[in-house]
Amino acid sequence: MLALKERNNQAFGFLYDHYAGALYSIIKQIIIDNNELASDVLQEVFINIWRKIETYDPSKGRLFTWMLNIARNASIDTLRSKSYQNSQKNQELPDNVYKEAANPFTLPNVDNIGLKKVLETLRPEQRVLVEMAYFKGFTHEEIAEIMAIPLGTVKTRIRNALLLLRQFLK
């Protein structure tokens, strides 16, 4: 860890080899069907990890957790960026996030990998909330508004879903 904070290239190489696959997986779960863009995000994520490594606080969690959140945030930012939205529009894909989120029973049928596979074990009403919150980056308030359900319900459902998720991981 010290070597990383001192920006040791060799240590960083090890970090990349060890975690790039796991992070690429989460990026691909958020940026679906666009491997090129997902690769770009992964590159950006590792550069950010390198730049921000001294801000990592071990008392707040494991290094992987920290990196996973950087990857998730970068992916969601990309997903929400104007250029990405435009490219989606150009492809005339009808399933924008609002529409798909509005109907929990028509979730996009992608090759579910990683955590998304875990989502399949959840009940649909929980699944859509986790999908929106974790993979699309909506806040609980936004979800409550989009889904027209009370904020408290959103919170409870997500928490319960996450607890189930934990059990699955065990």
């Binding site: 796991a22 494991r62 959140n69 974790y134 928490r159 991981l169 065990k170």
Partner: protein
């Protein structure tokens, strides 16, 4: 706070996965500092999540690693070069240059001052020498002039070795004296030249014994039957002390 209930509330998963709100995160972090079992539970979930993510890893395209390392190396270069490398060197070089220039400036100024004062001294010297030369040339001309009368002053009985020449240009009334051999006098005494006009001595100025072989311009006189040199007090006397007459020379002209 029932920590067990809190642990089972789903907050750990929410926090670790980045879904907790800012107040929830703050509360969670505060409680982590308080309850080691909460930290242990968080850790456990993190490990599970990490293990699961690693199991489900998707190998990224190999060129991503190359791009990442290229970018990092560039970043290192740009940060080191921008913050320290050439800039630091430039700053140091600038300071050295400034100091050197300052030193050179003062040294040059000092040298310039020295040179200019040396130059001034030299010019003064040249001016002085020049005027002396002009004077000598003038005197030489006067002496060698056909109108100039050379009066050989011979020693008297009291100073047989004393000798001097008086050059008298009666046309211009100029009188020059060249000391041949006049003993040096005590510092309170000087030699005085007189012109004897109709038996009356007229003061023509004083000189020192050490002014040997230098042409001295004395006071001029229109007439003179003879010239005489006496020893007088420093600065000369209004009338000669004849018993101290050192030499005498008669003009060959009219008498």
């Amino acid at each position: 706070m029932n920590i067990k209930e809190y642990i089972e509330s789903g907050i750990i998963e929410s926090y670790v996965m980045g879904l907790a709100s800012e107040p929830e995160r703050a509360e969670f972090e505060r409680l982590c500092a308080q309850y080691p079992e909460l930290v242990a539970a968080r850790r456990k979930f993190e490990e599970k999540l990490e293990a699961y993510a690693s199991e489900n890893a998707v190998p990224p395209p190999p060129e991503v690693k190359v791009k990442v390392f290229k970018a990092i190396i560039n970043m290192e270069h740009s940060t080191t070069s921008r913050s320290s490398g050439p800039l630091k060197f430039l700053a140091a070089a600038a300071i050295v240059l400034l100091v050197a220039m300052g030193y050179l400036y003062f040294q040059t100024r000092q040298e310039n001052r020295d040179l200019s004062s040396a130059n001034d001294r030299l010019r003064d010297k040249v001016t002085e020498t020049d005027s002396i030369l002009k004077q000598i040339i003038g005197e030489q001309k006067a002496i060698s002039d056909s109108n100039t009368l050379v009066v050989n002053m011979v020693g008297t009985k009291s100073a047989p070795k004393s000798s001097a020449n008086v050059y008298w240009d009666s046309a211009s009334s100029k009188v020059y004296l060249v000391v041949r051999n006049m003993p040096e006098l005590p510092s309170d005494q000087q030699y005085q030249l007189w012109a004897l006009i109709d038996g009356k001595p007229t003061d023509l100025g004083v000189f020192d014994g050490r002014d040997q072989k230098v042409i001295l311009q004395m006071k001029g006189t229109k007439k003179a039957q003879a010239f005489a040199i006496t020893i007088e007090k420093k600065g000369g006397s209004p009338s000669p002390t004849l018993e101290k007459m050192q030499s005498l020379g008669k003009t060959m002209v009219t008498q």
